[in-house]
Symmetry: C2
Subunit: 324 residues, 2 copies
Amino acid sequence: MNKIVQCVPNISEGRDLDKIEKIVQPLKNNKGFKLVSYEPDQDYNRTVITLIGNPDDMIDPLVAFFKEALNHIDMNHHKGEHPRMGAVDVVPFIPIEGVSIDECVSYAKNLAEKVNTSLDIPIYLYAQAASTSDRENLPTIRKGEFEGMKEKIKDPTWNPDYGKPQIHETFGVTAIGARIPLIAYNIDLDTDDLDIAKTLAKTIRKSSGGFQYIQAGPAYLEEKGHTQVTMNILDYKKNPIYRMYEMIHMEALRYNVKVMSSEIVGLVPKDAIYRSLIYYLDMHHIAYDKHMSLNQMTSYAIKYLGFRDFDSSKIIEYHIEDLS
Amino acid sequence: MNKIVQCVPNISEGRDLDKIEKIVQPLKNNKGFKLVSYEPDQDYNRTVITLIGNPDDMIDPLVAFFKEALNHIDMNHHKGEHPRMGAVDVVPFIPIEGVSIDECVSYAKNLAEKVNTSLDIPIYLYAQAASTSDRENLPTIRKGEFEGMKEKIKDPTWNPDYGKPQIHETFGVTAIGARIPLIAYNIDLDTDDLDIAKTLAKTIRKSSGGFQYIQAGPAYLEEKGHTQVTMNILDYKKNPIYRMYEMIHMEALRYNVKVMSSEIVGLVPKDAIYRSLIYYLDMHHIAYDKHMSLNQMTSYAIKYLGFRDFDSSKIIEYHIEDLS
């Protein structure tokens, strides 16, 4: 069986499309993997890039991509809603088929070493690849962001796993790691009041007493003029999408705020959508089977979970079918 | 200012009212504190006893109460829905007014020593009084229950804080500790299917990925012929009552199960009720102020949170007013 991973580099540039094109160029038209998408977000000033395919073929193009990011991004001038600490902010390897999480850890270390050696960028290993339990959680590493890392990296507790204890002065630092599929999910609120979005985020996130596998915060979308609860779902089996959607809806009622829609950032495993849809299908007594088409799933997800800007190509399995 | 604590011994007898009377006898008509209530539960075969008042005056009567429990309960014949490990299963001291949590820890240790010395019952200190972090969580200590403790207590990790590593053969073992107010809260489901109650409990409890301060499980109420999600809310500020009530309602929809009502076991701080009511009052645009009467609060709680068997005497502050 072919080895297939998903690799999702995030870069700290979401506005200058010309720069973004130059940075992703090395990831295009390669043998063995596909550049599935890159999604610039102006408010976040960040682009999430998704690769799917054989990890052995990804490493060298990824090093070239780091070099382009180094050439085109100066973090000293970066502003955006999303927390960030480097020009390439984070690179996770995610096992999809024929590859274990441990193998993904090896790919992460291999990439980290090559990037550090050739470009002198300090690297933290995170998630399953972390060298200490303090470093499992990306927000913990990233706390202080680019500006704060200048001092933080000198603290022996926060010396990088690769490189000197000193940030790259324009690039910053990067986290590279391996993890099970994570879902980046945002819920759109019909209010511009960031305090309400924050209060709602606190009802679900672990750090404020909420669900074990939820990281969440508020965001204001300048472009659209409304707020979101923006979250990472770290384990969609234990904290399914629909539960967050329904709970934010319920909590928002007291503020007279409505949930307008929601969005998946990047890709999502079919299983995660399926597990959420059946909540609604059961409730409405609609028959279903596990093998419903991706198109059928997509149309249910739009109807019941209010997904916007969603089509079946956002489901990981769509691209695997395509590769084989 | 007078020292006021709430002390809530739980005994493993909820059916034989004659025995229960004899056991609680030493707690009646004392100077300095009141026996506010004792609530036998036949399904749980357990009685929750609530004392409010000066802890200095409680210790000797509590030792006499342990002696009565020892005389009248043989755990080898005990059956009930609620997990248990001793004739007196657990005794928490809870700070209410003019007393710190640290002082409550001292009262717990004082009682533990006297009970062990005079009755040879092994005692575990738990919650804030715990000697190790493993012992903070009561269900962790109690795992295995009366039957399993016979072996578990011999494991050096689980030697008791007071007494020999050997259970009392008819009494079992007891946990004594100090903690902030905890709310014992149950949600009534219109189904007799315990699997559904269990699935619903798992959506909210910490150990299955749910909320940080929720312990929950399923229970079948023989007497009433329906199930409950039964829970402890360990921090009602971070995980308020209304959130559990609304979430169980939401999750139950997929199984065509309705939430019929809910119940507070023991007492509840006024602040916990207030924080939940304002969710509904805000939503319905009903004006309110912090100083609404306990009667007003009670009627809202019955209306919006479906409390059954509830009146203002279940609010802790009702009894404090009464003492002073």
